[in-house]
């Protein structure tokens, strides 16, 4: 294992303490229990938007804490869900009296820990709603499975819900906007390498030099199938086709496109992917109204990328364009 770390047992804490020092105007970090809140929390009368999940996906979620996006983020250990006591402490720190929105990626641990926290909030009389993100088309969706994983769409949902909450929308309004995002967004990813969890010290899976793993999640877990390494265009075609066919994205529709790096892929390659994605959208008469290209939802140093398309209307575009000021997203 070759990593710039001091001690595998405290990588999350040391990274968070670096974040706190880097962005004191934007956020505060609390330890024991661990959470990140915006510097001006709590904001009276504003719906508090709270997200969380395992660490190792940086900048998600902590990098999205700040005006116009998240009020709080609850980072768990690497690839492990945060616990209810963390979520409750973060909720107490940002509750502005207008209710809480939990944005939860669909993983068994995340769902259960946030559910327990939500039950506790309800018992305490604090209104809370949960928005589940499950956009990964690689996973077969069924009532009898854990369902689709939450991946790249999470960033778009956090931005859009955060903007609406910042503008004073009610909890019901913010949830409705979030559901619209969840219903109209789809993603799929590919890995060129696995990644190494520091405490484990070796790759989570091994991939021969000439193969890729199609349909990966964001934890270095194996995907649905292996395929020979192909050109960037061929891989983009494969990922995009799965996404186009799933929703389906109609001719004439407008989308926000996210080409997301998994942590170990250069921006240059992401632009090569975006170039092909733009061609494919043109062929299908789909307009890419906005795009986001970079490392936003990562799996440590995994090489690979994911594509996310979100079909948008004027309302979603309005909230996407609203000002945001966080460590990782700013306009």
């Amino acid at each position: 294992m070759k990593k710039l770390i001091n001690n595998p047992a405290i990588v999350v804490e040391e990274a968070l303490s670096g974040m706190a020092r880097a962005h004191p105007q934007l956020l505060r970090v609390n330890f024991c229990p661990t959470y990140i809140v915006r510097a001006d929390a709590p904001r009276r009368g504003k719906v508090a938007v709270i997200a969380g999940g395992g660490s190792g996906h940086e900048p998600m979620h902590g990098g999205f804490v700040g005006p116009g996006m998240l009020d709080a983020a609850c980072p768990g250990p690497i690839f492990t869900s945060p616990t209810p006591d963390q979520i409750l402490a973060a909720a107490a720190a940002v509750d502005g009296g207008a209710g809480l929105l939990f944005i939860v990626k669909n993983y068994t641990g995340d769902v259960m820990n946030f559910a327990i926290a939500a039950e506790e909030c309800q018992i305490a009389g604090v209104p809370v709603q949960t928005l589940l993100i499950h956009d990964d088309v690689a996973v077969e969706d069924s009532l009898y499975t854990a369902g689709r994983r939450g991946v790249g769409l999470t960033v778009l949902a956090e931005k859009i819900c955060g903007a609406a909450a910042e503008a004073g929308a009610s909890l019901e309004e913010v949830v409705a906007i979030g559901r619209k995002v969840s219903e109209h967004g789809r993603s799929m990813g590919v890995a060129l390498t696995s990644c190494i969890v520091p405490a484990v010290g070796r790759p989570t899976f091994t991939l021969p030099d000439d193969e890729v793993e199609i349909g990966i999640g964001i934890h270095g877990e194996p995907g649905r199938k292996r395929a020979p390494l192909q050109s960037a265009d061929a891989i983009t075609d494969m990922l995009a086709t799965s996404i186009f066919e799933d929703l389906p994205f109609a001719r004439g529709s407008r989308v926000i496109a996210l080409v997301n790096g998994m942590g170990g892929t250069p921006l240059m390659e992401l632009y090569i992917i975006f170039r092909r994605l733009a061609e494919l959208c043109e062929e299908r008469d789909i307009t890419i109204s906005r795009n986001l290209i970079g490392n936003y939802v990562t799996a440590l140093e995994m090489a690979g990328c994911s594509l996310t398309l979100l079909a948008v209307d004027d309302e979603l575009l309005h909230w996407w364009d609203a000002p945001v000021h966080t460590p990782a997203l700013r306009w």
């Binding site: 616990t83 068994t108 820990n113 327990i116 649905r224």
Partner: protein, 227 residues
């Protein structure tokens, strides 16, 4: 209704000390099998089950060493809360829920009869089933726990002593655990592997079997001392 075993062996009650012995024995067993649990999880999950369970039950062990309670409801609730905050992942809420629900059944009691103990465990397992919405056959801890509960109740209803009943439950849990090997996972992270999850023993079912096995060992030891 008075159960036959209550009449025949009216002196058998389950004390707080026995429950603490159960938890300590389970913490030992988790440490002993940490590498196995982690290896099973590496095959179909994310390679942290042994590590997470060990962290959680070492905390439980520490808590029980320092805490003095005379109410089993408070004891179980404390265990559940510790697991919720220290285990993380999916196992934290599931094992946490098991003990929180046991605490609700045992609230206000300093001792339990065998039937009350069985009811408490059954309520805990029902909590796990609800929290994880897993059905038998989904390749989860439910596949070890449901047969264990059925065997436990059956043995007590047939007039068996608690020790024998728990041994039957442990045997049923072990069979349930082994039965997860050919199953395809429909819940949890293993489900993302689809058919590739077949052929691996479920790590959650394995830690669940160890829990029932620890109960049998601790309660049989207590019964011998009392007898």
């Amino acid at each position: 209704m008075l159960k036959l075993d209550d009449i025949m062996t009216p002196t058998i009650t389950i004390e707080i000390a026995t429950m603490i012995a159960w938890m300590n024995r389970y913490a030992d067993k988790i440490s002993e099998h940490q590498a196995l649990l982690t290896a099973l999880d590496a095959a179909i999950g994310d390679a942290d089950h042994g590590i997470n369970m060990q962290r959680g039950f070492e905390e439980v062990r520490m808590r029980l060493a320092h805490e003095h309670v005379d109410d089993l409801g408070i004891l179980f609730k404390g265990i559940g809360m510790t697991l919720l905050s220290k285990v993380g992942g999916a196992s934290g809420p599931l094992y946490g829920t098991l003990f929180l629900r046991m605490g609700l059944v045992a609230a206000g009691k300093a001792t339990l009869t065998p039937t009350e103990f069985a009811s408490a465990v059954a309520a805990g397992v029902e909590g796990i089933r609800q929290r994880g919405s897993a059905r038998p056959g989904d390749k989860t801890m439910v596949d070890a726990l449901m047969p264990a509960i059925i065997a436990l109740h059956q043995a007590l209803d047939d007039g068996g002593a608690l020790c024998e009943a728990l041994q039957a439950a442990a045997a049923a849990a072990e069979a349930g655990m082994k039965a997860t090997i050919p199953m395809q996972a429909y819940k949890g992270r293993a489900s993302y592997l689809g058919p590739r999850s077949v052929g691996h023993q479920d790590p959650g079912a394995t830690s669940a079997f160890l829990l029932i096995q620890s109960a049998a060992e601790s309660l049989c030891a207590a019964e011998q001392i009392n007898a």
